[in-house]
Amino acid sequence: MSAVLAAERPQVVSHVQQALSYTVFDCKWVPRSARLLCLGSAARGTGVLQLYELNGARLQLLREIEKPKPIKCGTFGATSLQQRYLATGDFDGNLNIWNLEAPEIPVYSVKGHKEIINSIDGVGGLGIGEGAPEIVTGSRDGTVKVWDPRQNDIPVANMESVQGESKRDCWTVAFGNAYNLEERVVCAGYDNGDIKLFDLKTMSLRWETNIKNGVCSVEFDRKDINMNKLVATSLEGKFHVFDMRTQHPTKGFAYVSEKAQKSTIWQVRHLPQNRDIFMTSGGSGSLHLWKYEYPAQRSKKDSEGCEMGVAGSLSLLQNVTLSTQPISSLDWSPDKTGLCVCGAYDQTVRVLIVTKLNKI
């Protein structure tokens, strides 16, 4: 039976498994290379940054760097393809940008937040997204800040709750809508289920909603197009796909939701080569590969004549269980379709090959 299935559906092959001696929080492919980075926290409370190279059927450790604070997250999104500087957020609220060739001192450093930076995203680099290179960080201190590596010490935009009000823990941030020099949005997800969409062009809150459970991960299907879809995953195993093309004045964006598993969905990552395919990683150590199918008409008029979006449907292409522990991070290779790395709390990083993605 599996042979039949293999002929039609994408298969997830666990290509390499690499046990680590620390807790891995994030792993990232170095753009335009066969190298990958693992970021995490060593047992003695320091930060670890490891650079591996995929070498046939094994991962070869090229470099290990220790930093004083555990590193929670990283991105290459705001760097040029030539430089490939890594931006990281650590447990202490520091935003650092590293030159991996000379990682001793950061090329840019700022104490951006009072507490841990949970999430980081970049845009404007790697040829993805028009406009200035910018980094957004979301922190437990409740603020979301946008940074330009060319401006030291202070963020270029800051989104925080007013004083006196209870601060919400920001768990995830993502850039989107960067299709020309002016337009850009930041989407942030919070522990109480709030999702907020900030428009950086008009410096305003464009939309917000609440999905009832903590928002673990948000991502636009592509950062550099007129925003199309947004996936938000939640603590209790559901995720929502919003069609971001049509915003209704009161109803906001149309969405479809799906329950992948009983446990938290930690991450969602869209396939860089096809925006309608994405993978979610779950608390039970499972991965689900989904495809979004558009409805015949993406928008319709409501009774008052306002345009409102129509959500499409989701189909599960494949699911696999890799581990007993949550898979906390996931990254598709931007260069090789179907190549994927994921880090799990069983202190293992896995390189996966997903087959037949170009035949869907």
Partner: protein, 975 residues
Amino acid sequence: MCLHERVEFMGDESVPYFLGEGTTKTYQIPISHLDYKFIEKCTDVKHLEKILRVLRSGEEGCYPDLTLVCEKRIERLDPRSRALRKDKPPATASDFTAGEWQAINSELMNWLTEMNEDDRKSQLMRTDTPNERQDNLPPVRCSSSCLPTNQNKKLQNKQRSKKNIPRDYSEWDKFDVEKECSKIDEDCEESNSKARFFSRPSLPIIEKKIDTIGMTNRDKIIIATREKEKGNEAFASGDYVEAVTYYTRSLSVIPTAAVYNNKAQAEIKLQDWDNALEDCEKVLDMEPGNIKALMRRATVHSHLQNYQTAIEDLNKVLSVEPKNTNAKKRLLELEEKLKSLKPVSEPQGKGKKILIQEIEDAESGEGRGENTEECERRGGGSGAAAAARAGGQRAMGNAHRKSHGKGGKARDRDAHKNQDSAESRLKKGEPEKKSEKHLSDHEGEVNGFLRSDEKSESAEAEISEPPREESQSAGSGSSTALPPTAAKLKSEGNELFKSGQFGEAVLKYSEAIEYVTSLGEQRPDDLSILYSNRAACYLKEGNCSDCIQDCNRALELQPFSLKPLLRRAMANESMERYRQAYIDYKTVLQIDSSIQAANDSANRITKTLIDQDGPSWREKLPPIPVVPVAAQLHRWDGGSLTSENKPSTIDINREEQLQMNCEEAVEKFKRLKNEGNDFVKMGEYEEAANKYSECMKLNTEECTVYTNRALCYLKLYKYEEAKRDCDHVLQIEDSNIKAFYRRALAYKGLQNYQASADDFSKVLLIDPNVLEAQKELEEVTQLLHFDGSAGAGSQQTHGKKITIQEVTEADEEEERQFATSEDAETRRVPAEEAVPKPVPRRASEKRRVSEPPNAYDFGQMINALNANKDKAACADLLTVTDPKTLPVLLSNKLEGETLLIFIQSLEHYIAGKDPGLAYQHLFYLSKAERFKVVLALLSKNEKGEVQQLFDLLSKSWSDQYSLEDLESLKKVYEL
């Protein structure tokens, strides 16, 4: 508990008792349901999922086989069922065939080696590349305002600069959408930044080009690929405009055949035939045998009605892939189409493009060129405009409207039918429209009236947009006559109609009708209008059968009213009752031949009927009723729109009698006239004139025949006869604008400039918007002055060949070719009074030697020149054309024939006089698209021609070029 009942029912009926009583622990499912037979029969997925869960849990025992059966059953009923999702381990080698597994691994290894090599290279380069792109980057956000020392201040700064924009959550939370919305309504100026909050900009502005400065080749490949992927994704989601944008971006980085091909496909979806064609051709330039591009080009050609070319493309596909079923199917379709079109015209080697032009010519022979699409867009409301865009046809619009309406089932069915027919027409009708549009634009230049028609024809608007004029003419015109209640109801109905609420409008009109009938008074005209209006509503709703009924009633009350006839025709057309529709359109045209939509529709239906009934289609038509003369209108000014009241005086009996008597004659008349029109279409003006003359024997009252014959005479340079015909028309109808216009042209031809100017002014008096007449008037006035001073015999005119030619011809008296309007000012007018003589009709093409405004017109001229091999005219054309514009004007239409005639006319006419110009033309000609290809295809003799031209140029001298220039150009011409 529906489910429960169902379960019980099933248990009772179909499951034999064998396991004993009892239910499962978790879901209380009867134990008897855990059974092969039950599972095989059960269709309730929910219930099956529960069973599966029970089986998987093992609480009732472990039955692996039964579990599998249950899974399969669910999978068959609902492949997406969540219960089927199982935790699966990642795939391993055993899940693949050996080959697949190897392929996966080797693919990865290849990529790894590629990456490593790449890495090494880029490492070498890295030292000199950093910060390269920094200069191109946009400024740091908000850094333009002075940087504040702390964040709070900065926030305030921002707040000040962008007032009313909330800054933090609490403010965001307080954000009152309603209030803000109303604020926007009040204050438009301020809405700029916030409006996008609520209504997104209609189209995102995406740069069409990507700045590739400082990028390495590899960067470019990556970017181009990514943009292509974005295009593919947009295409997949149905957003073709965006897809085209991203393909364009990809092409701006690296042009590849595949992306051009994809772009062509997206453009086909957008029905942007021209660009699609261009892109297909680019693909084929790069990859001459590209099947997809050939298929796509065939599609485009068939939509542009170039069936012959389309067939050629399909044949090419089939020669490469003989088993391509899609191509075969399309080829068959096209061949059929081509066959069905043949009877319309003489078989032409030139293919379809010419054919359309000729048809259009004939239409303009009737004095009109128009297109529904355009007038609909102009006249209709936004909804109608959108519909017009989608379908280009009213029927489509109706279908659209209807599907939004709240109609009952019957209506819905109707809508589907309509939509079908509209769609089927969309296939052939729409592109036809498009090309017609181009053509009519062009014809406007050639044939005076078109422009004016398009501009001023409210008769067209009348059809495309019944609401407004309806309420104007009917509402204001006759509401005085109606009893107040009915008048009020009617105007309410009109209002509703205008706002697009057709259903409500129907109710109002029905009330009004009821009211009027209940009065018992004889108000046939009012009632007729009411019925007609209601019919318009039904038509808009797509309720064709009711529309027809109402039209019938209206026509009973008011025979030969224009609008009900038109509406009935449209309704019939959308119901695919083409014969009835044809009859109605023809009747309409008898009443008012100036209604272009009717003209067009009749033409369209003719085609459909030919398709349907074959060449003898006319025999199957019911007789076309004869319209009494009194009901006929030949309005050109379009000012008076109310036609409904006109025929009111007619005694029906008398008219019926007339009809009986005239029926035969009218049939014949119609036939002759049509034949005449056909001849005009083919350019056989003599024959056409003969036919029209025969027509006149049957009916001396029909003005169109005279105006048409006048047109033929004009084309034949028989100005005296043309003038006579126009005079006749003007006797019958003293404000026939067409007749005035043509008489003016005739006078001009007779060199009676004063009279000509008078007539042109009359045309402008009747309709000041007739641009052609304005232009002509200017020219004629100029000529008048010129004529006056001609005695002086000033020789300053440019030594143009045509001038000389003319003078010599004029010497032979009467032999002079009459020249014409557009270029008249460029030539000297001989003093002798010359009577024009008929010349072969081809010479008429000589007329147009004005500078071509666009590539399309230029192409048309070239086609004409090629057909005549008229080098002199070509030389004239080249003289007035700026050499620099040649590549643009030629676009991708350069062909061997064209090149040759250029070369010849340059050699024979221009090189001698103005070698500089000849050189310039040659130079820019070599910059035209397809030049290389065309050049490669030249025969030896033709190359000889080119060589001769170069020889000639090297002998003569001009400051515009040196011999070196010439030599290098020669190389370009591969000599």
